[in-house]
Symmetry: C2
């Protein structure tokens, strides 16, 4: 397949399971979506095989195509769900509270998201690397507005001298990059660190390290506090 952008809006989940919401096969839909998230996140849209998704969901291909008329439809549902998760997690960055606490919380939340939904993160990354053919509209819509909005908060902090004068957009790009790398590049980090329990050992260390570096890097610690913080023993190379 070459492009995958056809029918325009996508009104709803656009599938059978007509009336009853708490229907029987609603569980099936979720199983399929879960399986599809896994496969799409590793292979991308073009590389994924419907049959592989079906096998992973434990049912025949025909059944998958019963719930989602086409592979494209399934992909749309999956990626929009992931995008929703991503946009939700953006949440609010408190305008009032002190900047350091706000960023600290935001970074922690994003890191936690990578930890608990690594496949979602990878799927999102795949989509964007592929040129964001499906979600580009959302990116230049909702996300752009969000960045513009929260960027204003950053600007305010900067004028108050509570934050280094960094282009807010770049600040977000860096935060996103650093927090998502632990999900997206798991294979690389695993290979380099050779830890046994990635989830515990890597995220354990990352949470402290990443938050500290970003808080310091964004100039959110007015006090020239102890540069030498007391945490180590996290990763071992």
């Amino acid at each position: 397949m070459e492009t995958y952008q056809d029918h325009p809006p996508l009104g709803k989940p656009e599938t059978p399971s007509a009336g009853s919401a708490g229907g029987v096969g609603e569980r099936q839909r979720e199983r399929i979506i879960r399986a599809a998230t896994g496969v799409f996140s590793r292979k991308g849209y073009d590389g994924a095989r419907v049959d592989e998704i079906a096998r992973k969901a434990g049912l025949p291909k025909g059944n998958v195509l019963y719930y989602f008329k086409t592979k494209k439809d399934l992909y749309r549902v999956v990626i929009e769900q992931v995008l929703g998760l991503w946009l939700d997690a953006l949440g609010d960055i408190a305008v009032d509270g002190n900047p350091e606490a706000a960023i600290r919380q935001y970074v922690s939340r994003k890191l936690s998201l990578s930890r608990h939904y690594p496949e979602a993160s990878r799927l999102f990354a795949m989509e964007v690397i592929s040129g964001a053919p499906v979600i580009s509209g959302h990116l230049s819509g909702q996300l752009r507005n969000w960045v513009e909005d929260k960027g204003g908060v950053f600007k305010k902090w900067q004028e108050e001298g509570q934050m280094a004068k960094i282009d807010p957009a770049h600040a977000f790009f860096m935060i996103w990059a650093v927090t998502q790398t632990y999900a997206d590049f798991e294979a690389q980090i695993q290979a380099v660190t050779a830890v046994e329990d990635y989830d515990t050992e890597i995220y354990g260390g990352a949470t402290t390290e990443v938050v500290e570096v970003l808080v310091r890097g964004l100039g959110l610690k007015s006090e020239a506090s102890e540069i030498l913080s007391p945490h180590d023993g996290a990763t071992r190379i």
Copy 2:
């Protein structure tokens, strides 16, 4: 296709063009590799189509399979070339010179790499997100050694109080994440910033911003220098 790891070592480019190195069809090989880099970087291995690579290279599919016996072979050559670029760019981090200058240079170099070889960066990212099926050996080999080696330098700096006590491995993960995000997530950054000339406008701002944030975040500026640096007007959201 499911997995793509078969014949063991891969001795050489393992293709025709037998003896003469400066051969005639050596240009063809490079055209194919360039085209393949583009397609693989957007679709991944499974999603890429040999025929699309051929079309993009301006020659029939049969000719591509003449130079590279299989799609898998072609992918191997392409990804190993990209990996070589990546590992080369790792370069040395000067042990002697002052840490700030060293990191400043390293980050700039990595950023420049993303700027000038965005497809290579995306292909590398795709491979890793997919679980690094082809290059995992290199990652846990060369790259791991490199990190261990250079991590020692970081440790030394830290003991001398010239760098914040951050797990060296995590420091690298953050540097890589931030520098590569401008290539890998170009579609997202483009959508959010809506700049006209991505290369100039984004990388122009990023170079300064990223370097400053990382240098500060890694605690490389002993002097509590001006938190409010004088650069802006880079991006506009």
